[in-house]
């Protein structure tokens, strides 16, 4: 019986003229996404390789590793080309020195602002907008439409439990609407291999997870539509209501989340922080001055040495205070920033569209943590590089200096750039990706169940006449 209801729903959707249109549109868009993503990836790989070569070439002829400053790059990844996340917004290039603060720069959108204006077509965008709209388009009248067209009475002149009918509707729609998603998706994978792009086993698996997230997201809209269509009596009303909900879910909630968290959690601007630091610095300088005035020499010892020692202590004290003040401010700001972004993510997660896009970007490795991850791996590399520099130049910088002076007359040999330790960006492992995306998968499933329960309850009270 359930099978019959599912089959009927499946056949009805697949047989409708609008299904062919949907299939065509979603095929074109999905294939285009894979094609553009693949082409971009290949172009990025070529650029990446060229940049690395150029990096090595720039070191030729240099005689001392301590004089080397070079670049490391966040490597392109095929998943990032398909699910952009923040990968185009963040700096992908770090100027690498043995010491000092490092700061990634050179984002894709910075280099090519025209891309920023239009963004790339990626799977997240596509699924968010297109799949949700298609789900609504095919199921907004799932229940009230059958009442309007008069088939509901004939169906329920038979011995059909209402719950089964709703379940059949939802599962049938699910099955039918997965087809124009899965088939082009598989063809898209084919496009990648035609382009000569090879995916690792784990990347295939992650791609499969992404399409799963897409299907779950679609399921939220299917159950929601069936729910709304069994609440409202007229299909025209349910269509309008669903459009309003769609606008909120896709456009309003995620943006509002960012605005609201910005309103409620103040993150002091960097300038304010610097002003505070400067003010405190002046204050400290004044106390140093005061201390200077109160210096009393102890008659027995060398006055000059006494003063030097006294002032060194005063200055050390000042530095220490200044450092702890500064890092406390930095820390506070960072904490508030974290609170703000946690709040906005939490609020945004009210929207299944945000749940889906967060899940898919986590899986693709392009979520918000990508920039922190790149920075921290770059910092680790900085230590490796620094150690390498020290080894190459024979210990501390002072020792190196002496050595050069001793060998003054000889021409030192060029360095061999290929000895430079390579920066390899390590992507998060599969387990931690799955764990990190579990919450959003869970939310998508919970929403589906809530709407399913809603549809079931509403349909129990639905007037079948």
């Amino acid at each position: 019986m359930l099978k019959l209801l599912i089959e009927k729903e499946l056949k009805e959707i697949i047989g409708s003229p609008k299904f062919i249109m949907m299939f065509a549109i979603s095929s074109i868009l999905i294939l285009l996404t894979f094609y553009v993503g693949g082409i971009n990836y290949k172009k990025n790989i070529a650029q990446h390789e060229a940049a690395k070569l150029e990096n090595l070439r720039s070191m030729e002829g240099i005689k001392d590793w301590r004089l080397i400053e070079h670049n490391i790059y966040l490597p392109p990844s095929i998943l990032a080309s398909l699910v952009n996340g923040i990968s185009n917004d963040i700096g992908r290039n770090v100027d690498m020195y043995g010491r000092g603060e490092i700061r990634p720069h050179g984002s894709v959108y910075n280099e090519n602002p025209v891309y920023a204006a239009f963004r790339f077509l990626d799977l997240t965008f596509l699924f968010q907008i297109v799949l949700s709209l298609f789900s609504i388009l095919f199921t907004y009248n799932a229940v009230n439409g059958e009442k309007e067209s008069g088939t509901l009475r004939l169906v329920f002149s038979n011995s059909i439990p209402r719950g089964k009918y709703i379940l059949g509707k939802i599962l049938g729609s699910y099955a039918a609407l997965s087809i124009p998603l899965i088939i082009p998706f598989l063809l898209g994978c084919l496009v990648l291999s035609v382009l000569g792009i090879q995916l690792k086993g784990s990347e295939w698996f992650r791609l499969a997870l992404i399409i799963n997230a897409g299907i779950l997201f679609m399921g939220v809209f299917i159950t929601l539509s069936v729910f709304i269509s069994s609440v409202s009596r007229r299909s025209a009303n349910s269509f309008l209501l669903l459009l309003v909900i769609w606008i909120f879910v896709i456009l309003v909630i995620p943006r509002a989340a960012v605005l609201i968290s910005g309103r409620f959690i103040d993150v002091p601007p960097i300038d304010e922080l610097n002003n505070k630091k400067n003010a405190y610095n002046r204050e400290l300088a004044e106390t140093v001055l005061n201390k200077l005035k109160t210096f009393k020499a102890d008659g027995n010892e060398d006055l000059f040495a006494q003063f030097e020692k006294y002032m060194e202590e005063v200055n050390d004290d000042k530095d220490e205070k200044m450092n702890s003040f500064g890092s406390k401010l930095d820390e506070e700001r960072k904490n508030r920033q974290n609170v703000q972004s946690d709040l906005s993510l939490t609020l945004a997660r009210i929207s299944p569209a945000a749940q889906f896009s967060l899940a898919s970007s986590i899986i693709a490795g392009t979520s918000l943590t990508l920039s922190q991850e790149f920075l921290s791996q770059a910092k680790n590399y900085q230590n490796v590089f620094k150690t390498f520099q020290q080894e190459k130049s024979g210990g501390s910088s002072g020792g190196g200096m002496k050595m050069i002076m001793v060998n003054e007359g000889d021409e030192p040999p060029d360095i061999d750039p290929t000895e430079l330790p390579e920066f390899v960006y390590k992507e998060a492992n599969l387990d931690s990706i799955i764990v990190a995306s579990l919450g959003d998968f869970g939310l998508l499933i919970i929403y589906t169940f809530i709407f399913f329960a809603g549809a079931y309850m509403a349909f129990r009270r639905f007037d079948l006449r």
Partner: protein, 250 residues
């Protein structure tokens, strides 16, 4: 006569009343029964309560008081059990427009619990109800009302339930189609079905019914058997009952 009375009724309305939420009393203490091999026609104008009665039999509505029984099962108590015993044809049969006639029939017949028919069984019945062969594989969206009605009765026949409910099945059919339809109903009655039909077609009602009831404003104001109607002018009776009721109200 004795043996006739002993057969249990398949369809039974017992003091059936229905008051809608807006206070409209659509059915007022209506009782009747239909036994196997009988056609009972409810005659009545628009708003008499005919569809309400049928909806209660199908549990699409709950009665305010009284009960409707199919095969002895109270419909609002065990609707799923009760509905296994009934086939239904509405005034305007609506099927899935994107499915062919055969696909629609396959779906609804299976929904009615009959899983073992073959395509040729369907075609045989479609031929019997007079749907031309060329239409069998055509999508429903191009079908006329008469053609849809034929699909509907084919579904009802294939469900092969002991009771058949028909809500104004001949309204809107041309005379030839109406005549053929009535002949088909008589055949089904002869096969032993208990048939409850609502109609405002006095002549067809008299032609085939074993019992005729006249409904007015929710009440069953007259019930006569074929024998009792012999020699009576049903049209006159109908007008009288309607007028009489009107008079008492006024």
């Amino acid at each position: 006569m004795e043996t006739m009375n002993k057969t249990a009724p398949i369809l039974e309305a017992v003091n059936l009343s229905k008051k809608y939420e807006d206070g409209m009393l659509a059915l007022n203490n209506v009782s009747f029964e239909v036994k196997p091999g009988e056609i009972f026609s409810m005659l009545g104008g628009n708003g008499a309560g005919k569809t309400t009665t049928i909806n209660i039999f199908l549990n699409l509505l709950e009665p305010t008081s009284g009960e409707a029984k199919i095969n002895g099962i109270v419909t609002h108590e065990s609707p799923l059990e009760a509905k296994k015993n009934v086939a239904f044809l509405s005034e305007n049969v609506m099927l899935y427009p994107e499915f062919t006639a055969l696909q629609n029939i396959d779906f609804f017949v299976k929904l009615g619990g009959k899983l073992n028919y073959t395509k040729s069984d369907y075609q045989k019945v479609l031929k019997r109800v007079g749907l031309q062969t060329e239409a069998h594989e055509k999508k429903l969206k191009g079908f006329s009302k008469g053609m849809r009605q034929k699909c509907g009765i084919a579904i009802a026949i294939l469900k092969d339930a002991p009771a058949i409910l028909l809500d104004e099945p001949t309204s809107g059919l041309d005379p030839k189609a109406g005549h053929e339809f009535v002949k088909l109903l008589a055949d089904l009655r002869d096969e032993g079905k208990a048939i409850l039909m609502s109609t405002h077609d006095i002549f067809r009602a008299k032609e085939i019914s074993d019992y005729v009831g006249i409904m007015n404003k929710g009440s069953l104001v007259m019930k006569k058997s074929r024998a009792e109607l012999q020699g009576e002018n049903l049209e006159q009776l109908y007008v009288q009952f309607m007028a009489g009721y009107m008079d008492t109200v006024a």
